[in-house]
């Protein structure tokens, strides 16, 4: 039995901890500020003073169309995190507090990118069909000024995991090894949800990959749908709908939307844990595809259209079980209705699961023979 004063100290300590934790959780980027002058607050995308938000026939702000996430495919998820390999020796040191390149730096990158030949087109022109086959697997990317997709915490990095988050992470499985890890596979549960073509999960599905970046917004009265090319999923978002029972759990959660002015706000809860929150295929993401989510995760997304061609997408991830505080990514998307979204039919990764298991068994058999 604690004494009264101990109880009071615990209560005060708890309240302080809650206050500190609550502040961190609620840390947010200021809202997007559309305006006629390009600046950091609007990601250098101007809204003409005479522009009016298009409306659907039933009067909702109209966001419909295809907004390929590949538009920001050159930007790493985390700032100063390479993702695919070491930084070139001649690259300037990365400043973790620099969210945007200067105009001069950006011009230089655009100039360099403009000089890069389109390898696919070059190979086709030269009759190199085999090389074109190998070159044509990337979606087209566009240089950006922002230096990471994550804008909060201010250093552009994913927050630390809680001890429980680390514990959950250690229990996850994937075909993607952690540095120095030796994996073995015996059954389908030894793979992650993406290996198995079930889902890339959330928030991972909302970030750019090297291919299959199609994202289409479709609206009808009372609903918004987000059609995601990879992996053949549609997020159906009822507007102003009541919450569902906490007993309902989905890989992609249960989303509810509403309008704040012309901004579409989507809040998603009721997650079924299992998929990784981040995907190693998104540049600048942690290795291993083992960033857990909990049933407590809440995701808040905002779609703010700036003009006929651009919207700003903001996503805040809050998971008190896994994360020591929330994180927010924000980036522009460009309307491109010429982007053809194709079916992404894939079940248990087609032939890959048996291939991997057979490979893993052969490796272990070989190792065992070498020992004897």
């Amino acid at each position: 039995m604690p004494t009264n004063s101990t109880t009071i100290r615990i209560l005060i300590g708890g309240a302080l901890a809650l206050f500190a934790f609550g502040s961190a959780v609620n840390a947010q980027l200021p809202p997007v500020k559309p305006g006629p002058t390009p600046n950091e607050a609007n990601f250098f995308i101007a809204t003409p003073p005479t522009w009016t938000q298009p409306k659907t026939p039933w009067g909702d702000p109209d966001l419909q169309g295809i907004w390929p996430i590949s538009y920001v495919g050159t930007v790493p998820l985390q700032r100063c995190v390479g993702g695919f390999g070491p930084r070139p020796a001649n690259a300037p040191p990365c400043d973790p507090h620099k969210a945007f390149l200067t105009a001069t730096e950006f011009d230089a990158i655009q100039e360099r990118a403009a000089k890069q030949p389109d390898r696919y087109k070059e190979d086709v022109k030269n009759g190199e069909a085999g090389r074109a086959f190998l070159a044509g697997i990337m979606d087209n990317f566009t240089p950006q000024r922002q230096t990471s997709l994550i804008m909060d915490p201010p250093d552009g990095k994913l927050p630390e995991m809680t001890p429980e988050g680390k514990q959950l992470s250690s229990m996850m499985k994937s075909s993607w090894a952690l540095p120095g890890e030796k994996l073995s596979f015996d059954t389908f549960t030894d793979f992650d949800s993406w290996d198995r073509c079930i889902t890339r999960g959330l928030p991972a599905s909302m970030f750019p990959f090297r291919y299959n970046n199609g994202l289409q917004i479709v609206q009808s009265p009372g609903y918004v749908a987000l059609r995601m090319e990879m992996i053949h999923e549609s997020r159906i978002i009822p507007l102003n709908a009541p919450p569902v029972s906490p007993a309902i759990k989905e890989w992609l959660g249960v989303s509810r939307g509403h309008w704040e002015g012309s901004t579409l706000v989507v809040e998603t809860t009721n997650f079924k844990p299992g998929a990784s929150a981040t995907n190693t295929g998104v540049m600048g993401s942690p290795p291993g595809n083992r960033f857990p989510i909990s049933e407590q995760m809440k995701m808040t997304e905002r779609f703010t259209r700036l003009n006929n061609d651009f919207l700003i997408y903001t996503i805040t991830v809050d998971d008190p079980v896994v994360l020591t505080h929330s994180w927010t990514a924000r980036f522009p998307l460009k309307l491109d209705n010429s982007f053809q979204i194709l079916e992404y039919a894939c079940t248990e990764d087609n032939s890959m699961i048996p291939h991997w298991i057979s490979t893993s068994r052969a490796e272990r058999e070989k190792a065992a023979k070498e020992q004897h």
């Binding site: 790493p76 695919f84 069909a129 090389r131 074109a132 990317f141 982007f339 893993s360």
Partner: protein
């Protein structure tokens, strides 16, 4: 179209891509970087399936028998958007492929390069207005 040019991550001078082209899943989970293969054969089937396409190539062995190899390629959706379809490389085409064999020793490889014997060129039919002129085929 200055703003929509295709560029590699390396082009930005920020990163050096080190992963093989098959990025939906881990290369090391199936293929052995110590087992490079270079083989010549005839394309018998192209499967434009997700997450990755597969070329099936019949390779003639020294004893006269034929072995069917499966060569893993890239994501079909992006290829189709670029204009590369299942019929772009006709069945029966002679190819030389290089890649890494599967660790279990079966006749599967991760494709690193596909070329044509004797430097023969194959022009793709569906490459749009910027493709080769019709008489180049």
């Amino acid at each position: 179209m200055k703003k929509t040019i295709s560029l590699s991550l390396a082009a930005l001078g920020l990163l050096v891509p080190a992963l093989p082209i098959s990025a939906h899943h881990a290369f090391a989970a199936e293929f052995d970087s110590n087992k490079p293969v270079k083989l010549q054969g005839t394309v018998v089937k192209i499967e434009m399936v997700n997450p990755h396409a597969w070329f099936h190539v019949n390779v003639k062995e020294a004893d006269g028998t034929t072995t069917e190899w499966m060569i893993e390629g890239g994501s079909p959706n992006a290829l189709i958007r670029h204009g590369f379809t299942k019929s772009s490389i006709p069945i029966g085409t002679e190819v030389i492929f290089e890649g890494y064999q599967a660790k279990d020793g079966s006749h599967r490889a991760n494709g690193r390069d596909i070329t044509f014997p004797g430097g023969k060129k194959i022009f793709l039919g569906s490459s749009g207005p910027e493709g080769p002129p019709p008489d180049a085929k």
